[in-house]
Amino acid sequence: MEKQSTIKKLVDDLGAQDLVVVIGAADPEVASVTAETVTFGDPSFAGPLAGVSLRLPVYHILEPEVKSAIPAEIYEEQAGFLELVADTEEIGRIFREIRGRLETA
């Protein structure tokens, strides 16, 4: 909920255009819950922002397509280590699916 209100404030201040959300949790389930919360709102609980969908494109730093957008040396230094422990293909699949739903919803 708190993440959602933070983002809502940024959307109000800056406009939704050009805003993207990037997530770093290595556990695919934790990452997808976070992604769902910041885009579609918290799925399980009611609250002041229930039903408010912010619809920002959401990415994971460990997605192969995100990696390809970042200079290799910096990516290696800052995030490369997590590629050894995280299932990056699975994370990529989950996040492509969430972005796909954003476009069609």
């Binding site: 290595a26 556990d27 934790v30 800052q78 280590f81």
Partner: protein, 482 residues
């Protein structure tokens, strides 16, 4: 001079179902939707017997080993341990009635009022417990009239105390214009003091020394004692020591989020090695704020609310006794301010650098103790398995060092890690709950060493984006035959 040793260890749990409503997350949700949330919480609380028989809790007090959890089906709350003793080699699981008596015993300022119906029960329980027989349980007295408690709650900012669905008393605020002395804050501080005292009493018993046998106490609890001029600037070390008769001891607090216990251990070890103090106890009491932190996930999945216990830890650092495992001060790992925020740099600082200094490989460490949060609590709350994530990263360090292949990470985790078993009480799960198991494993010849690693979230205070961490290596005492 040889490195210091850890001569004794204790950890305790205090069942606190009546306090779950005052945890940070539950109290915010209750404020939004009082009736709905409160009844959901009350419908998912566990009884004391369930808490005692819960497998991770039996590991916590030492009746089971952490790896025994691999052999118990999940959910663990559906697979109670039988028989399940309340006492274990490291400490005890206390019922809420005793905790309530303890916060009254911890109260030097008339902060806690117990109603007259409940007073005799709490008093009797304290008097029958070996720790508190001589400790003035008469403080509870006759109890007060329920009408007085009604008035305090209605008009004076007092908060009701509950047990078994009934009101048994209240905690008062102690100043009407000081947020740091309001009832909720004082309740948090009293619970940390009381659970810390329970852990310290157990430590003194296991070390077989009197309270006067200590000369320094370091408290690493996560509360913030102080009034409006010094929030968090105060401490509990001496307050806990006073309750436990540590008359020859001085003390202060060491705060560092979840890294607190390891900093306290490091300072204790340094002070003992330097000869300033001979017997230093580190103590940490439980955290009210963390009760019911993931209750929404638990309720939504029809689980019992598992964050219904306060934890307490204590350990004793002394000079080399030729027996107890040694804290190798040449193998302390630290997260420097300049370590940066890349996970690899941080873990290299905490794990590889200290190992390199003493010529050990990643796979030479028999067991790693990381933050040992019980995954059954966190996974259902959408927060993942924290120990597993950290074990996989340590395995990845072994891959980078070409000690194992990438496909061997899972095996590394199984052999050198363990399932999380500690309550999500901030500093309490920070690697140290494994201390007793490591000491026993080393004594039995099953382990030669163990590395303890804690991480701290400095950014939570919004003063820096940095995180923190500290590690140390515990080893068989060279003076002790295998």
């Amino acid at each position: 001079m040889p490195d210091p040793v850890i001569a004794a260890f204790s950890c305790i749990l205090a069942h606190a179902p009546g306090f779950v409503r005052y945890g940070s997350k539950p109290s915010r949700e209750i404020a939004d939707r009082p009736a709905l949330v409160l009844s959901a919480i009350e419908g998912h609380l566990r009884g004391f017997e369930e808490v005692v028989a819960y497998p991770p809790n039996q590991v916590f007090i030492g009746n089971l080993k952490p790896d025994d959890l691999h052999g118990i089906g999940q959910p663990w709350y559906d697979h109670p341990v039988f028989p399940a003793p309340r006492r274990g080699p490291y400490g005890e699981i206390y019922p809420e009635e005793l905790l309530l008596g303890m916060i009254k015993l911890a109260d030097d300022f008339g902060l806690v009022e117990i109603e007259k119906d409940s007073a005799p029960v709490l008093q009797g329980l304290l008097e029958s417990h070996p720790f508190w027989r001589g400790a003035d349980p008469g403080r509870i007295g006759q109890g007060v009239d329920p009408g007085r408690v009604d008035g305090l709650i209605e008009h004076s900012g007092s908060l009701p105390l509950f047990h078994g669905g009934r009101r048994v008393g209240c905690v008062n605020r102690h100043h009407d214009r000081d947020d740091n002395l309001k009832a909720h804050v004082l309740m948090e501080n009293l619970l940390a003091k009381a659970s810390g005292a329970l852990a310290l009493k157990n430590l003194l018993r296991s070390a077989d020394i009197g309270g006067d046998g200590l000369d320094l106490l370091l408290n690493c609890s996560e509360e913030a004692v102080g009034d409006r001029y010094n929030r968090g600037g105060g401490g509990l070390a001496k307050a806990i020591g006073e309750m436990c008769g540590c008359v020859a001891s001085t003390g202060c607090d060491v705060k560092a989020f979840c890294t607190g216990p390891l900093y306290a251990l490091l300072f204790a070890s340094g002070l003992v090695k330097a000869g300033l103090y001979e017997r230093v106890a580190v103590v940490g009491g439980g955290s009210l704020a963390k009760l019911g932190m993931k209750f929404q996930g638990h309720v939504a999945r029809g689980m019992p609310i598992l964050e219904d216990v306060l934890g307490g830890i204590a350990f004793l650092v002394t000079g080399d006794d030729g027996q107890s495992p040694v804290v190798r001060l040449d193998a302390v790992g630290k997260h420097d301010i300049g370590s940066g925020s890349s996970q690899q740099n941080i873990l290299e600082s905490l794990v590889l650098k200290p190992l390199d200094r003493v010529g050990l490989k990643v796979t030479d460490i028999d067991k790693y103790a990381v933050e040992l949060q019980n995954p059954e609590v966190t996974v259902s709350g959408g927060s993942g398995n924290v120990p597993l994530a950290n074990y996989r990263m340590i395995g990845a360090l072994a891959v980078l060092r070409k000690e194992i292949a990438r496909q061997e990470i899972d095996r590394f985790v199984r052999e050198h890690g363990m399932p999380g078993f500690a309550p999500t009480q901030g500093h309490i799960p920070a690697a140290v709950p494994f201390l007793g198991h490591a000491m026993d494993g080393i004594r039995r010849g099953e382990l030669n060493n163990a590395m303890f690693i804690a991480r701290g979230s400095l950014f939570l205070g919004r003063m820096t984006q940095l995180s923190d961490g500290l590690s140390f290596l515990l080893e068989r005492n060279p003076g002790r035959r295998k």
